[in-house]
């Protein structure tokens, strides 16, 4: 069932790619959203195709090798691997905060339009707020 779902995702990716290429060829003088929509379709299609096919192949490989499936399950559930993954994610998040705020400051100094800066600030604050929310939620659960 899940394998079928992955194949469907891959197939919808191919359809999106084809639609994207068709739109590029069919519309000679694109206006407004049609300037970017075909490329968006191709990008999204490639992502869906890669993800769907990758998952399908990996599930097929796991199915034919139960030993490999068990090893993958052990590696995924291994407490040290989980800890390493969480530590790496935390480091990445810390770095993202620095990089993102530096980027915001640069954009502000460059005099970029408020329509760009304000959504970026909102996104930044949302991510920080989300992190604080989960910290209090996790603290309550222990």
């Amino acid at each position: 069932m899940k394998k079928k779902k992955n194949l469907l995702i891959a197939l919808s990716g191919i359809v999106l790619i084809l639609i994207g290429f068709y739109l590029i060829k069919a519309i000679a003088d694109p206006q407004m959203i049609m300037k970017t929509l075909p490329y968006l379709c191709i990008g999204l299609g490639c992502g869906l195709f890669g993800d769907g096919l990758g998952e399908y192949i990996s599930k097929k490989a796991i199915e034919s090798d139960p030993k490999l499936a068990k090893q993958i399950e052990i590696d995924t559930k291994d407490e040290r691997n989980i800890m390493i993954g969480n530590m790496a994610k935390a480091k990445g998040f810390d770095m993202m905060l620095y990089v993102y705020s530096a980027l915001l400051l640069t954009f502000a100094l460059m005099g970029i339009s408020y329509t760009v800066i304000i959504p970026m600030v909102i996104a930044y604050l949302f991510v920080v707020g989300y992190s604080i929310y989960h910290r209090t939620k996790i603290e309550k659960s222990f």
């Binding site: 052990i74 590696d75 559930k77 291994d78 407490e79 040290r80 691997n81």
Partner: protein, 67 residues
């Protein structure tokens, strides 16, 4: 935290891979435990002790100065 895992494992003639499979952890975790680079969760410590039919204190050595 220091431990006697390597010593006990070798005494029993068990390979790292075999111990890892029995405890359902990666071989790297066993390696890190034996090199004192990683302190296990209390659950894993209990699983290790149960596997060797010992107590946690027989395998893991608590040192006050670590705190």
């Amino acid at each position: 935290m220091k431990n006697r895992l390597e010593e006990i494992r070798k005494e029993k003639g068990i390979k790292q891979e075999e111990l890892a499979t029995a405890l359902e952890v990666s071989r790297q975790t066993i390696g890190s435990l034996e090199n004192d680079r990683y302190n296990p969760s209390i659950l894993l410590a209990f699983r290790i002790a149960k596997y060797f039919n010992m107590t946690i204190e027989d395998i893991f050595i608590y040192e006050e100065e670590e705190q």
